[in-house]
């Protein structure tokens, strides 16, 4: 059975059909990207999967149970980091651990390996405002990993970072994924990012938001992004996704 199953999910915001009959499966230990232009409902879809907002129709199943609220084995990484400004790096990383009943001190002891995993050793007692954007998202990632969830939901987690930092973070995520093999649903609007990271890419279109294509990414792991980008097959897939994203409706919408 798939770990995440989205079954005929619909969502409206007033007059706008945000999601129209969306179906998808994510297998255990699979890395799936949801790729689409802005406004296609990909973030909405992820928020429904996370149990943050209800669907208007259809059902999301995680481990065969319908999702009605946030689940303990699933954590979300946000585009805008959402660190607690009044807490240090180690206490931010320990947030979920504390919510599961650990004291502040116990949580600090438990998060050590995760701080190391994201390369933030030596910054344990720094405050978020003292960190760069990339480092802040390392904290966000460590916080999500620290409760050892089976599923990571990532909502354009590197979207707020500059191009260089973004590529570094992609490599970090590949390395961490190789070590932990979480089930990942990763929302992005970057074709390159989706190809570098995923086993499978679901391409979405807007108005109404829907999945128009599923593309398997055939590259072996562990991956070296620089090497990957140089392969002809990478360029081919890139072109194909680009055509899908700018499909007939998009071209029509752009011309008014």
């Amino acid at each position: 059975m798939p770990q995440i199953r989205v079954d005929d999910v619909e969502k409206r915001f007033g007059e706008v059909q945000a999601l129209s009959r969306v179906n998808l499966d994510v297998e255990r230990n699979e890395f799936v990207s949801i790729l689409g232009p802005s406004g296609c409902g990909k973030t909405t879809l992820l928020r429904i999967v996370a149990g943050l907002i209800p669907a208007d129709g259809g059902t999301v199943y995680v481990d065969d149970e319908p999702v009605t609220a946030p689940r303990r084995n699933m954590t979300l990484v946000f585009q805008n980091f959402r660190l607690l400004p009044w807490q240090t790096v180690e206490d931010n990383v320990g947030y979920g651990v504390r919510l599961r009943g650990a004291s502040k001190k116990e949580a600090r002891q438990q998060v050590g390996p995760y701080i190391k995993m994201v390369g933030l050793e030596g910054f344990e007692t720094a405050y978020p405002y003292q960190l760069s954007g990339g480092m802040q998202q390392r904290v966000g990632l460590a916080r999500a990993l620290a409760i050892d969830p089976q599923i990571l939901l990532m909502d354009e987690p590197f979207g707020a970072l500059d191009a260089q930092t973004r590529e570094i973070m992609q490599e970090e995520l590949l390395r961490i994924w190789n070590a932990t093999h979480k089930t990942v649903a990763f929302v992005t609007h970057s074709i390159d990012e989706a190809l570098v990271l995923s086993d499978r890419v679901l391409v979405m279109a807007a108005r109404p938001g829907r999945i128009i294509e599923t593309i398997a990414v055939p590259f072996d792991r562990p991956r070296d992004p620089a090497h990957l980008r140089a392969q002809p097959q990478f360029t081919e897939l890139r072109m194909r996704m680009w055509e899908l994203l700018r499909g007939p409706e998009q071209a029509e919408a752009a011309s008014g």
Partner: protein, 257 residues
Amino acid sequence: MARADDPRVVWAVRIGFAVLVLIVWQAAAAWFGANFVASPGGMVTSAIALVRSGELLRYLLPTLGVLSAGFAIGVVVGVPAGLAIGRWQRLYWLSEGPINLFYTTPMAAVIPVILVILGFGASTKIFIVFVFVVFSVIINSAAGIRNVDGDLLELARSYGSSELSRWREILVPSALPFVLTGIRIGIGRALIGAVVAEFYAGIDGVGYLIIQYSNRFNVAAALVPVAVLVALGVGSTTLLKWLHRRLTPWADQAGTG
């Protein structure tokens, strides 16, 4: 960026201006006569006399008692009330109007009425100080909660947090700077409430001392307790600003969030 502020220059400017004010003040007192303008020198002499005789302390102690009791109750009642009003929408709808009404009412105008109803004892004055303090504390505490970043509350929800943990991890630390600001505003209002209550009650306290000396045209002596009140207000406000910086080290730099 502006040029670096050399603290020596900053203080030279401040002290220089203060000295200038004192010189002009002393000259004005000599020109108009001490009955109309108390000279700085005259005030120092009066202050020494008031301290030596024990009169200042005797009148100051009841004021301090009323102030600290009324202020403490105002904070202890105002902070939880404000936090609750900020968090629960229905409570907010219910209380917003009345609280703004009380906050904008010139409380000094109501003091005679309160004294007539409740009597002239210390507990009435404590109540008056409480009323002066509590609304600014409530309003600012509620604003602190309503100002909480919705994204952080959603983060909490996505981690399956309880309401209690939301208070501890997010709501209280986020509202803290607002709460401290409300308390700081409350200090100034507490001083006004205490002194005006003593003007009317006319039994003891520095307010009564000020009235007594003013009625005898001893301006210099009347201004001594005023100076004490100023020192008290500035001192506690400075202490609170320091506390603010200590408790919320992130707040100065985190402006852009």
